[in-house]
Symmetry: C2
């Protein structure tokens, strides 16, 4: 009998009414805003800053991932279940997935195997409408910009060639990447180059995830940079009086979404910004809500610890005042083989020699965060093809640098396979007295901030700036935005900016090709490579294999 | 003290938990899918064809409207409240509004004054996400089309120049009307002309509103016509295996949405197709759900009785097997002045002489439906500027042609001002034995079907076809779609196709400029004028006057 698909496991789950999940964490039924029986929004009033200060935040990150991913989400969900099994009141607080990729090649993004959040189909489709609301807020601003250009009476004199604000759509639609709009004569706008990004790439998404409340949200939305006037003055969303209407469109999206794990433990899914050009982690509001309701809040950040964790700590934690109580770094044996140079097609076969080389990637990430006063726990996300020798080797090597490496069986066993990891995470959170130290301060020079990340986290020898990057940086300084933290846009596949440099590369510099900035979300974005903001569909889109029967039952969604 | 705004009235309403509204019409709480406390989706299992056959369907239509509109929605809501006040179990089943226009000049579309459906803000924003789901389904098909053009391996050989399927966005965004997509090199699609319509103009919306269940929905989605191959073979959505994935995206949107009137009576809002190029009325599923749950189901169709009611009867009623038990034709005194030739700026002042001329417009609509065996009741939607003489005149003239004209006070008095109209509607539904007769059969020639509508409903002398229209018609016949009913796309301002011909024009022909067709929704669309499918924003968008405070309270939404 083959292992069931994620959808089969999810559909066979004994899902509980969300009111029961809410009751476990002390949310009064009358305070819930239901979206059907299994999803609910939690009002912002459940944030309790005193409880936030006492709650233990567990950050799950990973080594530099292989294309298959190493299972941060499944480990996060399984760890939450494991913590609950050992008697801790724990909640998973994660991102909500984007709809577009569901019809491409990607599977769902609500965990997998026996470590999933459910209802899986809802979560992978429209969920509670947050992404659609973000899309509308983003596109309202775009419409207001083009309307102002069209409008001679109240014109802000915007130079259409300088507009950097793109429209968005939560769809894999490559034909919208580069377009010309405003054709068709005087009644239908002013022609200009434009393009669509996928919704998670919207700065509105990044802003929602950084906002503490409605006032903060409005301020950040108003601070969105649009472009310049013909006389070279910067134009912001507030100049179009756009921020309040945009915030109105986000009135419900700002509230975190409560769902459950397969084992009936609470999970909050809220926000899903890109992990390359944005911070790649759920909303501050969701994290605070989780921390207000549970002893342990398990969360994750996109990509590996060099990107996701670094940004989580220096952007999100800085802004919200969080200090993680413990950190988990997820690895897999197969990824160690890959980083050790195992050839393509052989990642799935035992190969101790490659693991012995590849482990340097893991050790670098562990060492990085030990330096910042976090003492990570390593989770070896287990696959059937792992050999005992490989696992033992990883555990021994981790032990040598003072951290524990524990095999995680969440995919096949759920929380039952995660109690050992949970015990170690509790041990770390309660005994090690983690006291995270920032790697840089925001008032340092931009180049200093970047250099600190490049040398300390990536292991680079230095940073090279292109001419364009230098010019872009001057613009950022002229706009008075150089005090913002750094959001690195780099490949996730390597510690360097070259995805072919696997393992623990040395003797390299990173190259900043250009800068972008998110004046509303509040970060500077050094661009180190080509960043995909609008995926395409594959030759055979996943949509072709889906079906829905006359009762509304869905098949083929993975 | 000035009369409160719609938002003030809505926000001060004593809104009930939707479970209480559901209980009134026999829906078990466990069957509801809540969207917060005041909105819920009703499962399709509540449709009971036997009850549908016994229930009384009341169609609310109007004269040719002035730009301000004559109040079909307020009369429909008020009539529902009035019927409940006189002891009838009545439900209002209406369209849900589009979000885009909320930020333009238009007010909300959930009634007005004391005849509203609530929660007003929710209804005017994302509501239960139906429009977003329709948008995604529409745009998934667009992405699949462009992906297939890009895709050399599994190419359907579609000629990009022939593609008629547009993307949609629920936003007033004129700059997206005419665009070029697919620019930026080989990785980013094939360049071609394209454009966005506003979401209510999507054929997916029209299809959702015509569908009886998931199977029917999938079949209709699969029948969507996309364009031609380079060797001139037609391509449909089913050729891209798109219909199931599109239906999956509509899994929740297909279910009707229960809300309430200000007086706590049940209302279903579901679907909102354009009234020009589409059928302009709510879903068949919603209408059947209402008829399964109430004795009286009050519904409306967009624009005047020449457009909305005609299409409602010949497209929707034909497909679903409905026969309205009564019909209400809404007029206003000021519209009678307008149709009688009152000058611009003077519609609001008593002018009996103009009313005496303008009444011919009302009489034509009444006579049309008497001919089809419906005996309309006229509702004079009351305004403070109406004079007793004008009202008396309208009532006398209606009496002469055998119908009652009753003053409707729903805006200022709610249901209390609608009991007289409710009594007369009950009288009509119970005593006149209405037996609607179709004006044409679908198997007649297209020209015959159009001629019947033009001469019998509009009062035209005949129909003129442009060369393009003749060619388009040949295409429709070649595709085997000539058996479909007719969905006229004509100005709503005149019985003719010339908006300046007010009153009851005579001695005119109508001009079919071109044809479109909706192979999935199932109708042929003769185009008689310029049809707006993507509105723009005004000089000062309504968004500028909106605000949201730190508690999430909204102001400035009208």
């Amino acid at each position: 009998m083959s292992f069931p698909t994620d959808l089969e496991i999810a559909q066979n789950a004994d899902i509980q009414h969300i009111r029961k999940i809410a009751a476990k964490i002390g949310i009064a039924e009358d305070d819930l805003e239901y979206y059907g029986k299994y999803k609910a929004k939690i009002p912002l009033s459940y944030i309790d800053e005193q409880k936030v200060a006492q709650s233990k935040l567990i950050l799950v990150s990973a080594i530099n991932p292989t294309p298959a991913g190493e299972g941060k989400t499944t480990v996060s969900v399984g760890l939450c279940d494991g913590l609950n099994r050992i008697g801790k009141k724990a909640i998973a607080v994660l991102r909500e997935p984007s709809l577009g990729p569901v019809f491409g090649i990607k599977g769902g993004a609500a965990g997998g195997g026996y470590a999933q959040v459910i209802p899986m189909v809802d979560i992978n489709l429209h969920f509670t409408g947050d992404f659609s609301a973000i899309e509308k807020a983003n596109n309202l601003l775009a419409a207001l910009i083009d309307n102002n250009i069209q409008n001679r009476k109240f014109s802000l004199n915007i130079d259409p060639r300088t507009i950097v604000w793109k429209r968005v759509m939560d769809m894999n639609d490559r034909a919208l990447r580069n377009i010309i709009i405003g054709l068709g004569g005087t009644a239908s706008g002013v022609p200009r180059e434009d393009g669509f990004n996928i919704t998670p790439a919207s700065e509105v998404m990044a802003i929602l995830c950084m906002s503490e409340n409605f006032e903060d949200l409005k301020t950040r939305l108003g601070n969105i940079f649009i472009g310049y006037t013909f006389d070279k003055k910067p134009v912001y969303a507030r100049d179009l009086k756009a921020e309040a209407a945009m915030a109105i469109l986000l009135r419900d999206a700002i509230k975190p979404n409560l769902v459950q794990t397969l084992e009936g433990n609470p999970a909050i899914l809220h926000g899903g910004p890109f992990a390359n050009i944005a911070q790649g982690t759920n909303t501050i509001i969701a994290t605070k809500t989780g921390m207000s309701l549970a002893e342990y809040t398990v969360t994750e950040a996109g990509f590996g610890a060099d990107l996701g964790a670094e940004k989580f700590l220096h952007i999100k934690c800085r802004s919200a005042g969080f200090k993680p109580a413990a950190m988990v770094i997820v690895t897999t044996v197969r990824a160690m083989r890959y980083h050790g140079g195992a050839k393509k097609g052989f990642f799935e076969s035992p190969d101790l020699a490659s693991v012995q080389l590849g482990i340097d990637n893991l050790k670098k990430h562990v060492e990085n965060y030990i330096k910042l006063n976090l003492k990570p726990v390593v989770a070896i996300n287990h696959f059937a093809t792992d050999s005992p020798e490989e696992i033992a080797f990883i555990q021994e090597e981790c032990s040598k640098i003072g951290v524990k490496a524990i095999v995680a069986h969440e995919f096949t066993q759920g929380g039952a396979g995660m109690t050992e990891l949970a015990e170690e995470v509790v041990n770390a959170a309660e005994n090690y007295g983690n006291d995270f130290q920032m790697l840089y301060e925001v008032n340092e020079k931009v180049e200093v901030k970047i250099d600190r990340i490049a040398t300390e986290i990536y292991g680079a020898d230095g940073v090279v700036y292109s001419t364009k990057a230098k010019n872009d940086l001057k613009v950022i300084c002229d706009l008075g935005l150089d005090h913002l933290p750094i959001c690195m846009a780099k490949t996730q596949k390597s510690l360097s900016d070259n995805e072919r440099k696997i393992g623990r590369p040395a003797g390299f510099k990173i190259n900043v090709r250009e800068f972008e900035f998110a004046a509303g979300a509040g970060f500077i974005i050094p661009i180190l490579g080509d960043m995909m903001r609008m995926p395409g569909l594959p030759n055979v889109p996943a949509s072709e294999g889906m079906d829905i029967d006359k009762f509304g039952n869905i098949t083929g969604l993975s």
